[in-house]
């Protein structure tokens, strides 16, 4: 994204300018407003207070910036705040979503098999009057057909549910940047800016090079290959373990 924000050159620490340039940010030597920001939540409060979507980030070592969009702001925050872990520009394709969904929900799908088992038992019990009468061949066929129908419907409905979930959640196909810090996870895309505390996360799982973070109101898929240096995927795993989300 073409980014533009102002930065006070003499407050940028060594390497900061280079890092900003690498991230595709245009550095302008024009100062704007100042307000010291020491944490992501403070930066967020500062950002939120300005409905014009301009923000100032000023931390020891790095200068300050005024950004135009949340994504740009996120990038400013990346360099400005206590070296959090950044997982940048994540998109999830439908194929990946479907594959990960299958791996991550296999345990829950097991529970779904209770449905054909239950319907088989209920129909058997009804047709044999609670097992007091013998099962005729015709009734056995009826039960088998019913079981087949339930199994096929489960397959069809779960496939449809995955597709609906993917299309309904536009965030999956929009490049999104995640910042993992001591306080929580900040999520930024062109249409969403969110700051979620660790207490909201109740489970994490690993599948095929992705982390799946589950909150009380939604879930996030983070690919290991998008972790930005100097952090590595081991840092993410360590952080999730430290938070008690990963075994």
């Amino acid at each position: 994204m073409a980014a533009q924000f102002a930065l006070v050159a003499d407050q940028v620490h060594a390497g900061g300018q280079g890092a900003l340039a690498e991230a595709g940010l245009q550095v302008l030597h024009a100062p704007c407003c100042t307000r010291p920001v020491r944490s992501i939540s403070m930066a967020w409060a500062c950002y939120s207070a300005l409905s014009t979507r301009r923000v100032t980030v000023s931390v020891t070592g790095l200068g300050m910036g005024c950004s135009r969009t949340p994504t740009v702001w996120a990038r400013v925050a990346i360099f400005a705040l206590m070296q959090p872990i950044v997982i940048a520009d994540v998109t999830v394709s439908f194929e990946e979503f479907e594959r990960l969904n299958k791996q991550l929900t296999s345990r829950r799908l097991l529970r779904l098999w209770a449905l054909p088992v239950l319907s088989g038992f209920v129909s058997w019990s009804t047709l044999t009057r609670g097992g007091t009468e013998p099962l005729t061949a015709a009734n056995a066929v009826i039960i088998a057909l019913l079981l087949g129908f339930v199994v096929v419907m489960l397959q069809v409905l779960s496939r449809r549910a995955v597709r609906t979930a993917y299309t309904a959640n536009r965030a999956l196909s929009t490049p999104t940047t995640y910042i993992l810090s001591e306080e929580g996870v900040s999520i930024f895309s062109t249409s969403v800016s969110s700051n979620v505390q660790w207490s909201a996360f109740h489970r994490a799982a690993v599948a095929d090079g992705w982390w799946h973070l589950q909150t009380t109101t939604g879930s996030y898929l983070l690919p290991a290959d998008r972790v930005q240096p100097p952090a590595s995927s081991a840092d993410v795993t360590a952080l999730l373990r430290q938070r008690g989300l990963l075994a």
Partner: protein, 167 residues
């Protein structure tokens, strides 16, 4: 420019239970089949009340099918209660701010700003408005708590203006 505040929205579990089911049945009509086992359980209970000798028989020789159906029906509110309790967005106090920039959601666990384009649809049930954020995320807005000078009408007009379909 609108800046509509709906502070301190609280949702009781009973209210959540009813709204969640109305929402689910409206958006996913196939789930009406869930009512079939409910009907058979209700008819079973009615026959136990009207013909008490049936209850005596049932207690001597418990009808397994009835117990399984009743158990799975009781499991639904139990699971919903568990989900409700651990989700501050449902069981805690949440403040919403609606403006031309989108929806802002603030509670003890999150501070989120969403553009209107990620909220394609809203559903109104009485004085409750459910905004669907895609995936599992849904926001329950209590239109009685809209702060003056605005009222519920302003909220609906703002949604309409930003292309949020009212279901």
């Amino acid at each position: 420019m609108y800046f509509i505040a709906i502070p301190d929205v609280r949702l009781a579990f009973g209210q959540y239970f009813l709204l969640a089911w109305r929402f689910t049945l409206k958006t996913n009509p196939a789930l009406w089949v869930v009512l079939l086992p409910l009907l058979s359980v209700v008819s079973g209970i009615i026959s136990f009340i009207t013909k008490p000798h049936l209850l005596g028989e049932a207690l001597r020789e418990p009808p397994l099918v009835f117990i399984i159906l009743l158990g799975s029906l009781l499991l639904i509110p139990f699971q919903m209660r568990k989900q409700y309790r651990r989700t501050p967005l449902l069981s805690g106090s949440t403040s919403y701010e609606l403006s031309d920039n989108g929806l802002r959601v603030v509670n003890e666990q999150q501070n989120t700003q969403l553009d209107w384009q990620v909220l394609p649809r809203a559903y109104q049930f009485g004085h409750w408005l459910i905004l669907n954020g895609g995936g599992q995320q849904g926001f329950f807005l209590d239109l009685r708590r809209v702060q003056p000078p605005y009222a519920a009408d302003n909220v609906l007009r703002l949604l309409q203006h930003h292309g949020v379909a009212l279901g």
